[in-house]
């Protein structure tokens, strides 16, 4: 990475960071399929080796914005783990996309308990049974603490009254090493984003036990995060960029484009040859159980109620009082900006900023400014002893 932080060299090009995961597709394909160009934008993409370095590069202004984890968009504003940097999140890039994959040997033990593993809370109970009878600790592999997959994992465990501890050890592993860790048994359960769960299944190393969408239905997974000072200095570019990404997200949801998406993402600059098998005959790029999607049912709308929900889970699942204070969520998630841009694309959007999170087991409709808008279900797994 040779970016300069010199303002004079900022030029017209927008610099965006991404992590090589399937949900980087909205930014990658907006470049490769020409959505940015159609808006007259020049965008350079910068692959980052870790969420920490993505955050730091946005923090010092080497990047104008990036694909961010939902919780990270809040953490970066609150200065959790790094100096605070004002970032706005005017749209969601993807919903769902994580899963918990069990090593084959563990999966067999879980199946032998007789619990219905297709039910996530039953699967968690099966795990509790195995943990209770196991002499060795069960190791849970996670990637990053300020992420939805980690918060989902803890909610899933809580549904069976479990939490990490001596019998259930948390291990952190970078995503590309998760497959090896599962293969060699240094983790028994891998909680990670796509494409890694699909790949672990493809290589016969393990089986998906529960998916993120079974824990939090259709939660915001990755969001667009943009430095607030950049957004304020470039209001037109920001809107054009959002238009391009929204149109790209609509295009990504169309199954007709899957082959082209795969052909681009497999390039070494993006996800690389690891995802080659996902283009094989009969193998899916987007795992049917994961329900990863980018546009349908108002996927891009940044609900303030979901920012609140994320913050509450971050508070619940981190050590001590790291997550203290109440940030002004309305200045981070920006449904107002989304609505304005949607309008310019003749797309409808919800008129309200909040919905009752966890109350909808089925897709439902809310008032839009043109008519009614469909919104995806949002049921949440219940902690043991509740609901």
């Amino acid at each position: 990475m040779t970016d300069s932080i010199n303002d004079a060299e900022m030029g017209d090009s927008i610099r965006l960071g991404f992590i090589p995961l399937l949900d980087a597709a909205p930014l990658i394909m907006a470049v490769e399929a020409g959505f940015f160009a159609e808006e007259g934008l020049e965008v350079s993409l910068h692959r980052q080796p870790s969420w920490a370095s993505l955050r730091d590069r946005v923090g010092v202004g080497m990047l104008d914005g990036a694909q961010m984890l939902g919780p990270m968009a809040l953490a970066i504003n609150m200065g959790l783990g790094a100096p605070p940097c004002p970032v706005i999140s005017p749209m969601v890039l993807s919903r769902n996309g994580n899963a918990i994959t069990a090593r084959r040997a563990l999966y067999e033990q879980l199946a032998a308990t007789g619990f219905d593993l297709s039910e996530p809370s039953e699967a968690a109970r099966a795990l509790a049974r195995v943990v209770a009878s196991s002499h060795e600790p069960i190791r849970l592999g996670i990637v990053y603490a300020w992420s939805s997959h980690y918060l989902q994992l803890l909610d899933w465990l809580a549904s069976a009254g479990l939490s990490p501890g001596p019998g259930l050890e948390l291990v952190t592993v970078p995503p590309p090493e998760m497959m090896t860790a599962l293969a060699y048994g240094s983790v028994d359960l891998a909680c990670v984003g796509e494409p890694w769960n699909s790949l672990m299944e493809y290589h016969g190393l393990g089986q998906i036990l529960a998916t993120g969408c079974q824990v939090w239905q259709n939660a915001p997974e990755k969001v667009l995060g943009v430095r607030r000072d950049w957004a304020e200095a470039n209001p037109e570019k920001l809107r054009a960029m959002m238009r391009a990404v929204i149109r790209c997200c609509r295009w990504l949801d169309d199954p007709v484009n899957r082959e082209l998406i795969h052909r681009i993402l497999v390039h070494p600059n993006y996800l690389g040859s690891a995802i080659e098998p996902l283009g094989d005959q009969g193998q899916w790029l987007f795992h049917p159980r994961v329900h990863q999607h980018f546009f349908r049912q108002s996927a891009n709308f940044p609900w303030l109620s979901q920012a609140e929900w994320l913050l509450s889970r971050m508070r619940l699942h981190t050590q001590g009082d790291q997550v203290s204070g109440v940030p002004d969520l309305g200045s981070i998630f920006r449904p107002d900006l989304y609505r304005e841009v949607a309008e310019s694309l003749s797309l409808d959007a919800p008129v309200m900023d909040y919905k009752d999170e966890g109350e909808h087991r089925q897709p439902f409709v809310v008032e839009g400014f043109r008519g009614q808008v469909e919104v995806a279900s949002d049921a949440l797994i219940a902690a043991a002893g509740r609901g």
Binding site: A52, D56, P83, P84, V143, A145, L170
Partner: protein, 208 residues
């Protein structure tokens, strides 16, 4: 080197052994105690418990940073990221410079900020020096390769045109000027055309 720095223990995590050696030497000569050099964060929490470093310096582009930061969110004994608060301009400059150089730093037990900064500065200086060293090496290598290609193309032109070395060189230089290209690029195109064509043609002929 102020006396109060001498007891500060530093752990290095870097998968570039040469760079790690440079940083290690610089820190040692400043009187710091380097208590371990590792190429990844594997086993880092245990190493931290054993070696009790005050500061961990890690290559910013190491994928292990997420591992390290997750440890610090989950484990109270794990190193925590150095947070230079934005209120002080000189510090925000340091962090920007550190990110540019590719250095990230984590503190283990609340070492005061004014004691961390000089350590980060030493690491940043060594990382920058290593970067420019690698740059120079790269340039030297390219220059060598260019010279080799030019020599080879010259030989091919001499053979083909049946001319002297000087004449071959002049015609190549003229070609480069006419095309507004670098001499080494012209040389590589000539090698491709004069040598590559021949080489690629023959097996085909044999197949027939």
């Amino acid at each position: 080197m102020s006396a109060d720095q001498s007891g500060v223990r530093v752990m290095l995590v870097d998968n570039e052994p040469e760079r790690a050696a440079m940083v290690c030497e610089a820190l040692t000569s400043e009187g710091y105690q380097v208590v371990g050099q590792r190429s990844s964060t594997r086993g880092l929490v245990a190493a931290v418990a054993q070696e009790e470093p005050d500061v961990v310096i890690i290559d910013m582009d190491s994928p292990d940073r997420d591992t390290l930061e997750s440890m610090s969110a989950l484990n109270e004994h794990a190193p925590r990221p150095v947070v230079f608060f934005a209120s002080d301009d000189s510090d925000s400059y340091t962090i920007q410079q550190a990110v540019n150089a590719g250095v990230s730093a984590y503190i283990v037990d609340g070492l005061e900020q004014h004691r961390v900064k000089p350590i980060v500065d030493v690491a940043v200086a060594r990382f920058e020096a290593f970067q420019s060293l690698r740059h120079q090496l790269e340039e030297t290598r390219t220059a060598l390769e260019d010279r080799k290609d030019i020599e080879r193309a010259k030989g091919l032109v001499m053979k083909q045109q049946n001319c002297s070395e000087d004449e071959a060189f002049h015609s190549m230089r003229k070609l480069a000027m006419d095309r507004n290209q670098k001499l080494s690029d012209v040389a590589r195109q000539l090698i491709e055309a004069l040598d590559g064509g021949e080489g690629a043609g023959s097996p085909e002929a044999m197949d027939d």
